[in-house]
Symmetry: C2
Subunit: 211 residues, 2 copies
């Protein structure tokens, strides 16, 4: 099983489908976000499913009622996972997990960009605790800060750790795995490569068990 | 000018359009969120524009690059405003404001649900400061807690305050205005009413200047 997740942050349906098809053999899942959905519609989720699992990176950050509606819709379109924020509170995470059923919920605890230091980092451990206690399947923690990843791994129990920020944002793939990530999330280094499938295969190999 | 914003949290395009048409004369704007967009596509924004201004309540909570893409798309579809989170950091708010140009950016400082007490409330004043310093047009602060609204008003300078939580969530329309809100945001009490236009007219009158 690959430990590589592709952040498919392109805007055009055709380009998305082409990259999905080429890279899917080397991926655990494809992560789809709002910009692509705004442009191509939610049907893109269903279309990508023919090649790969889809994780909806919707960073849901709303009241419980709205959270439920977003999760329900993602599930209806066949997503295998959805990413939600815990900063908006335990009740919203609980609503997401309840609504998700057998779809996986991943809770953001800390992000890969500089602004994550403003509010998120100091609260990351409390957010990990909420993810554990509310029955999320995993958390999002940054490959750009392996020392943080290591600390979060220690308290994350059985939660899967998905780690963004590898490549264009500066994180190193193998270092993230060695620091405790279960999966790395890579975007630009794959979809902007002249041969995305080659880039995906190489990254998948670097993060494979026994590398 | 009405001080009433309709949170159009229905899922079906036809119902959304019918309610938009009936209530628009009594509204400042219609707020559209992800559940409707997931179901009806971004075209719903353009369609509602024939009746009313549209504020995209996308509670954007992402890295600066993704934030830019979401803001750009909302603008392309003609939204007059977009709602973003500041807990993801100052850099993401800055990216939103830069990308928005003459579209208004509203920054969430505190929300109307119980979970907002977990992390957001203690940081709300810092988030108001970021909204001010980064040139946002306004902030979101809860009608369910008028005492908080009053405190936030004191430090919010020229920022507009949009205040959700009126009606089904327990907030009182006039109390929110008296506590410093410029606009109240109402959903279920209008779109679930047997005559949404009557509910909208009454609420608009309650929050009008000189009531």
């Amino acid at each position: 099983m690959s430990r590589l997740i592709l952040a498919l942050d392109v805007l055009e349906r055709e380009k998305a489908m082409e990259i999905a098809k080429k890279t899917a053999p080397y991926l655990y899942a494809i992560k789809v976000g709002w910009p692509l959905v705004m442009n191509a519609g939610m049907d893109i989720v269903r279309e990508i499913l023919q090649f790969s699992r889809v994780i909806c990176d919707f960073k849901v950050a709303d009241i419980p009622n709205t959270t439920r509606l977003i999760v329900r819709s993602a599930k209806k379109y066949g997503a295998s996972g959805i990413i939600v924020h815990s900063f908006v509170g335990r009740d919203s995470v609980r609503a997401a997990v309840e609504e998700a059923g057998d779809m996986n919920v991943f809770v953001v605890t800390e992000m890969s960009h500089p602004g994550a230091l403003d509010f998120m980092q100091e609260n990351a451990k409390k957010m990990v605790k909420i993810a554990l206690e509310e029955g999320a399947r995993g958390i999002i923690a940054p490959a750009t800060r392996p020392e943080r990843l290591r600390e979060i791994r220690k308290i994350a129990g059985d939660l899967l750790i998905l780690s963004p920020g590898v490549g264009a944002q500066g994180g190193k793939a193998r270092a993230a795995i060695d620091a405790g990530a279960d999966y790395i999330i890579v975007g630009r280094s794959i979809y902007n490569a002249s041969e995305p499938e080659v880039a995906a295969r190489e990254l998948a190999s670097i993060v494979a068990d026994g590398y």
